[in-house]
């Protein structure tokens, strides 16, 4: 029989809807795969075997009762551990939340359940989504299925590794400065950061509220679009949720693949996202991808976005500032860890001892940078100035989108590096060079595999204007149809 873990989400959904395979068999096949390979990968922090089988049984029962199933009913999914899941452990990769079982579901968790998607478990991540390698998890790193000695990207590295290693056909990630696109790129899968506000943040453990956005991972562009349509849409419980209709991303993915043509599409290559600091192999793969887009009929132009050179500086002021405020909620009172409550220590002392014990080094660094940047006397020079740079980056995008329908760049400056190889925080931050501008502008961007460099995957980033997520999918699907998906190497199991 065909290995169910090798199928796309769309194929699985069709088999389940047609009654050819039970959702329970699909779930079991993926749970078996996790049992076989996750000791090597450590993509999952928690596997919810009983919850997954129960959800799958419900899909099979609904089908037997004659209900019309949703387009992804019975398809397994890996959930990033920053998304709260009722009664299922949720840690955001932090010791401070070890053992916490949330009393409610995030909006995206609800939507996934209502769609009949089967959640297999919670995936590893950099603590509170701060990182580019998943090495900042309090529970140990995740390994890249392409080379177990290398990082799977971050912060959504457990999700990217799970999808790349066929533990799940779909996963949810969150992207604050590149945490979906960068892990997708370095594991050879597809990942999309939607327009800010397109997917509800209700029930996401907040890192940087003006930047955080959840989004889908898949091994194909179509699968990624199918999951996007499930999770996107207005939510009154998130005051920054946008009311505009969800762009037709699934239709765009199908059209892009079917047409296999980009005639009439103007593609802008961003001059500032390349050159110095980028690996030669990454640039070679990117240039080949641009040549493919041209062969598909796209009109390729070069655009310049000079303010992008300041994106890294602006981001590493805005995100730490917002995180220093958001993480104040970890006060040792309402949930999670409490340390030093010996009857003698004051509330403030217990708070400080708990946060010291519960937070890792990167979280502490960012909380202190944010505390500094928001201080009176420095506020205007740091946080205030960073917000002005953000305006200039948005203006650069607007000007570039006058000349091009989509913008392209490499998704990352380098391929997956070795676990433990990058120790300097600033060097780690540079992994986000290509992904930060779209985060700061709130615009959508997708990463799609575009070949290998030294045997490791490279990602092509396709950026579109706000609310035009469908353009990302259309161009990505046309590219994928021409270039093909990457064949992920076998693990020992």
């Amino acid at each position: 029989m065909t290995d169910l873990t090798r199928m796309s989400a769309a194929e699985i959904a069709a088999l389940v809807a047609g009654g050819e395979v039970a959702a329970v068999e699909v779930a079991q096949a993926h749970l078996d795969r996790i049992t076989a390979v996750d000791s090597e990968l450590h993509a999952f922090l928690h596997v919810d075997t009983s919850g997954a089988l129960e959800a799958a049984k419900a899909v099979d029962a609904a089908r037997a009762a004659g209900s019309v199933l949703g387009p992804l009913a019975g398809v397994p999914l890996a959930m990033k551990d920053v998304v709260v899941t009722k009664d299922v452990p949720t840690t955001a990769g932090s010791r401070i939340l070890d053992g916490w079982r949330p009393p409610y579901d995030a909006t995206i968790t609800e939507r996934i359940k209502n769609a009949g998607i089967v959640m297999l478990g919670k995936t590893n991540m950099d603590e509170f989504a701060m990182g580019s390698s998943t090495e900042n998890s309090a529970f140990g790193p995740t390994h890249n299925p392409w080379d177990l000695a290398r990082i799977p990207g971050g912060s959504s590295g457990g999700s990217s590794a799970a999808v790349a290693a066929h533990e799940a056909p779909l996963a949810i990630g969150t992207d604050t400065g590149g945490s979906i696109r960068q892990p997708a790129a370095v594991t050879g899968i597809v990942g999309h950061k939607p327009t800010y506000g397109a997917v509800s943040r209700f029930g996401l453990i907040a890192f940087s509220s003006s930047l955080d956005q959840a989004g889908p991972f898949g091994r194909t562009v179509l699968d990624t679009a199918l999951l996007h349509e499930v999770i996107a849409g207005h939510d009154p419980r998130d005051s920054t949720s946008i009311t505009a209709p969800v762009p037709p991303v699934v239709a765009a993915a199908r059209e892009g693949a079917a047409a296999a043509s980009l005639a009439g599409v103007r593609v802008g290559v961003v001059r500032e996202l390349g050159g110095e600091g980028y690996q030669a192999g990454v640039l070679t793969a990117f240039e080949a991808a641009v040549a493919t887009l041209r062969e598909l009929g796209a009109e390729v132009v070069e655009v310049s976005c000079p303010s992008f050179d300041y994106a890294l500086a602006a981001y590493y002021l805005i995100a730490p500032s917002e995180c220093s405020s958001n993480l104040a909620r970890f006060d040792a009172v309402r949930y999670g860890l409490r340390v030093g409550d010996d009857g003698a220590n004051s509330l403030e002392e217990v708070m400080s001892l708990t946060r010291e014990a519960g937070f890792g080094a990167e979280v502490k660094r960012r909380v202190m940078i944010g505390t500094y940047a928001l201080s009176s006397g420095y506020y205007d020079a740091y946080y205030g100035q960073a917000q002005k740079v953000r305006t200039l980056i948005a203006r650069d995008f607007a000007a570039a989108f006058e000349r091009a329908d989509v913008l392209v760049s490499p998704s990352t400056p380098v391929v997956a590096f070795g676990i433990g190889e990058v120790v300097d925080p600033l060097t780690m931050y540079r992994n986000d060079l290509c992904t930060l501008p779209a985060s700061l502008a709130g615009t959508p961007a997708i990463s799609v595999p575009c070949g290998l460099s030294e045997g490791l995957p490279v990602g092509l980033q396709i950026m579109a204007p706000a609310l035009a997520d469908d353009r990302c999918y259309r161009v990505a699907a046309a590219y994928e149809a021409a270039a093909g998906t990457l064949s992920i190497p076998e693990l020992s199991a």
């Binding site: 946008i242 590493y316 740091y382």
Partner: protein, 126 residues
């Protein structure tokens, strides 16, 4: 709280008490070990002596790098706080059920009489 000067708008001052001029790039090399200790206190982090040494060096490098934003001429540029501008977002004021009390308290580190139990909050015995 230690003797931290606070301004009328509630912001707390670190480092020099002189206000840095708006949009001027603060220079690197300013973060001393004592200032990191002060930031850690403000952020409620009981950092160790070893951490102070490590963080002082790292924060100095990081803050030096992010200070680049000051190079941008942006005096007349409005700030962007959110990418999709929205103001005064309302929803109907409808009563919704709350989470069950016991489900919420189940995740707390300490509970007494169906309430969160907290360590003492006053500095001296009363």
């Amino acid at each position: 709280m230690p003797d931290v000067p606070a301004t009328s708008d509630g912001h707390v001052t670190v480092g020099s008490t002189d206000s840095a001029p708006a949009a001027a790039a603060p220079t690197a090399g300013r973060i001393s070990r004592a200032e990191v200790a002060h930031l850690a206190r403000l952020a409620r982090l009981a950092v160790t002596d070893e951490e102070l040494d490590v963080f002082a060096g790292q924060l100095d490098v990081i803050l030096g790098a992010v200070a680049r934003v000051g190079e941008v001429a942006a005096a007349d540029i409005p700030p962007t706080s959110h990418a999709v501008p929205m103001t005064n977002v309302f929803r109907p004021d409808e009563v919704q059920p709350s989470l069950p009390r016991d489900a919420v308290l189940a995740g707390a580190p300490d509970v007494e009489d169906h309430k969160f139990r907290v360590p003492r909050i006053l500095a001296e015995e009363v």
